[in-house]
């Protein structure tokens, strides 16, 4: 079992992103977002597998190069044209496109997010009328892009789904709010702010929604423990279960 179970960046763990010197010049780089220790993905309990010393990179599916297949190519083409009409070339707005398990994800730069989702909603060939909320994901090992916001969209007209992913660094956790385009995201953005600390600029009232207003910290972050939080009740403090009694 590894003593140091805290998440580290791939470089600190001594993993180098393999330089692709193959003849395929356009071969995408590996999407390493973190490092896993041991055979269990546990960081809290005992790894009884005997492989606790293993150090393996966490590799997410890498970018997909066109053609994407299915209806994705048509949609991407329409999207590029519509974005160009709005003065933003597709290449500058979209970092990369990932097609995985039959779903397409556009990684959008945060400064272009509002225009991008406005295009998704308004363009007749796209018509994604509904945004199914936003979800945060915290990748402590993904340096400079620690916080991800993931937006699923649904087009009832064309019966299609796309996903938009936006990243921001932990040091500057700001992403523009899309409530002006999709009012449905009001509560979803509040929830993501509550759990991850992503600040959605332009949201009408970005307050906590699930946790109490004066709660310190953002519980869904990876550095936030499960349990172990003392609970205050009527002025008295109840320590977390693991600290109530010593069994040494």
């Amino acid at each position: 079992m590894s003593d140091d179970q805290t998440p580290v960046t791939p470089a600190e763990a001594g993993i180098e992103v393999a330089a692709h010197t193959t003849s395929m010049a356009e071969r995408p780089e590996l999407e390493i977002v973190g490092v896993r220790h041991g055979a269990f993905s546990a960081v809290d309990g005992g790894d009884t597998s005997g492989f606790g010393g293993l150090v393996a990179p966490i590799v997410m599916p890498g970018p997909t190069l066109p053609p994407y297949g299915d209806w994705f190519d048509d949609a991407a083409e329409e999207l590029a044209l519509a974005l160009a009409d709005r003065g933003i070339p597709m290449e500058s707005a979209v970092e990369k496109v990932v097609v995985y398990r039959g779903e397409i994800t556009f990684f959008v730069r945060r400064e272009n997010l509002l225009t991008f989702v406005g295009t998704l909603r308004d363009e007749p060939a796209l018509r994604f009328e509904m945004c199914m909320g936003v979800n945060g994901v915290h990748y402590p090992g993904d340096a400079g892009r620690e916080l991800h916001a993931v937006y699923p969209f649904l087009s009832i007209t064309h019966n299609r789904r796309v996903r938009v992913e936006v990243t921001c660094p932990d040091a500057d956790p700001h992403i523009p709010s899309i409530t002006s385009v999709y009012p449905a995201n009001d509560w979803h953005e509040r929830e993501t702010y509550d759990f991850f600390g992503i600040i959605f600029d332009g949201h009408p009232s970005l307050t906590r929604i699930e946790m109490p207003d004066d709660w310190p910290g953002h519980p869904q972050r990876k550095d936030y423990p499960l349990g172990g939080i003392p609970v205050e009740y009527k002025g008295a403090e109840v320590p977390p279960p693991d600290q109530r009694r010593s069994y040494t």
């Binding site: 973190g34 509904m130 996903r163 009012p183 979803h188």
Partner: protein, 460 residues
């Protein structure tokens, strides 16, 4: 918070005259930047005199979180002008239990145990959505046995009936139709008996698992389900007859809680509320899963955009679900109920023992006496769990309340890296203000009942 209370407890802070004789620690007044704020409780209205002449009177009423007609611990903050609601806000979070965080610390299979507890009226939908997402990540969607999918559909549609029965029961109770409540819960009991017979538990059954279902359904059970259905059908009709043409019920619901198609689209509202605008959007039809394309049923719609329309849709959906249940029973063919892939399929085999449930003696014998490798494999799969390739997926099912979406992220390990549920109740509650602003207080109750939020799903 405690500081404020202690300060407020002194009599000097009580602003109105005659405070000494009327002193009530729960009915205090205190100064804020917006003027004096009075907290009124009980019958002390007479003792409050309009202190700021000329200033607009704002009355803010907290409805809930313990109010019986707010569907669980929902807190509605209503700003009133007489009996008219001028502004509605929802306060949620009273039932937040950190299910999504907990799932990150348990194996993929154990995640079902958490998912089933979210929206406690629709446990099978929570489980199915989660399992469909896990199977999509594993890329084994096509390998799920036919029988498992049929059983999933069977349980889900029975669950839709029980959930809609509760919606009618609680909705009726909140509007004063108490017989609807007693009828609704009585009929639901029939469905819960079926759940108990098949899964061993009335709620929170953790029955649908990644790769299939936890255990097979026996011919005897199928027979008993068939025997229950006629009674359930008859009684469903009784409940519907009680309300459909009921003048009082219609007076309370027709034209109330109006939300049109544009409003639904903007607010991301799905389910019966969206279908009450006339749009036949149902994921079972447009994006089928679990083999729904093989069943014949109609999508219930209404064009009234109001509480009454949503009520009629729920009535009709129960009958459509009944049709699907009967088709599912007919479609049940013998076969496995768990994926063949030994790397994923839960190794334990269950059989009916003297107590109605138990481990299969053949399986125990095989792993304990015949194959060391099988024992090791069983142990590894149960304790460590299976690994799921890194990546993310979104899977959605049509729950009785709308689109229940699951966003799952895997880092390649044996536990979810992130699991997020887009619960329809959570999203649909946002439409409360659009439905209620400008209406009477009593209509707020009807509108919230037509949203049918379940706080376990809202707060997770």
């Amino acid at each position: 918070m405690s500081d404020m209370t202690e300060e407020a407890l002194t009599a000097e802070d009580v602003a109105f005259e005659g405070a000494d004789e009327f002193f009530d620690p729960y009915a205090l007044s205190y100064e804020t930047t917006e003027g004096t704020v009075y907290t009124v409780s009980g019958g002390d209205w007479d003792s409050i005199e309009a202190p700021d002449e000329g200033q607009k009177e704002r009355i803010v009423v907290n409805m809930g979180p313990q109010h019986p007609s707010t569907h669980g611990v929902l807190r509605l903050i209503l700003e009133l002008e007489g009996e008219t609601v001028t502004e509605t806000r929802c306060g949620i979070g009273y039932l937040h239990t950190g299910i999504e965080k907990n799932m990150e610390f348990r194996t993929w299979t154990q995640g079902v145990t958490f998912a089933t507890r979210m929206d406690y009226l629709t446990p099978f939908y929570n489980e199915a959505a989660y399992c469909l997402a896990v199977e999509k990540l594993l890329d084994v969607t096509d390998e799920i046995p036919e029988r498992a999918s049929v059983i999933r559909v069977l349980m889900m549609e029975l669950n839709r009936i029980s959930s809609h029965l509760v919606a009618l029961a609680t909705g009726g109770m909140e509007l004063g139709a108490l017989t609807a409540m007693t009828f609704g819960f009585r009929e639901r009991e029939l469905v819960l008996d079926i759940f108990e017979m098949v899964t061993g538990l009335r709620m929170n059954s953790a029955f649908i698992r990644p790769g299939g279902v936890a255990q097979d359904i026996t011919d005897d059970q199928v027979q008993r389900i068939r025997e229950t259905l006629p009674l359930l059908k008859k009684r469903m009709k009784d409940t519907a007859d009680l309300l459909v043409d009921n003048a009082i019920w219609m007076g309370r619901t027709v034209g109330i809680g109006y939300l049109d198609l544009a409003g639904c689209m903007a607010l991301g509202v799905t389910g019966p509320i969206l279908r009450s605008t006339g749009l036949p959007h149902d994921l079972r039809k447009v994006q089928p899963y679990c083999g729904y394309e093989n069943y014949e049923f109609d999508v219930a719609t209404a064009d009234t955009c109001d509480v009454y329309g949503r009520f009629l849709i729920r009535i009709q959906e129960m009958h459509e679900s009944m049709k699907i249940v009967e088709q599912a029973l007919d479609r049940l063919q013998p076969g496995p109920v768990m994926i063949e892939d030994k790397r994923v399929g839960w190794p334990a085999r269950l059989s009916i023992g003297s107590d109605g449930q138990g481990n299969s003696p053949e399986h125990i014998k095989a792993i304990m006496t015949e194959s060391m490798e099988a024992l090791i494999h069983h142990f590894k799969l149960v304790t460590e769990g299976f690994s799921v390739p890194a990546g993310q997926v979104y899977a959605a099912v049509e729950s009785p309340r709308g689109e229940l979406g699951v966003h799952l992220v895997s880092d390649g390990g044996t536990r979810p890296y992130r699991a997020h549920f887009r619960d329809p109740s959570f999203n649909n509650l946002q439409s409360t203000a659009a439905m209620c602003d400008g209406s009477m207080v009593s209509d707020v109750v009807a509108a919230v009942a037509s949203i049918d939020p379940v706080m376990g799903g809202v707060d997770r």
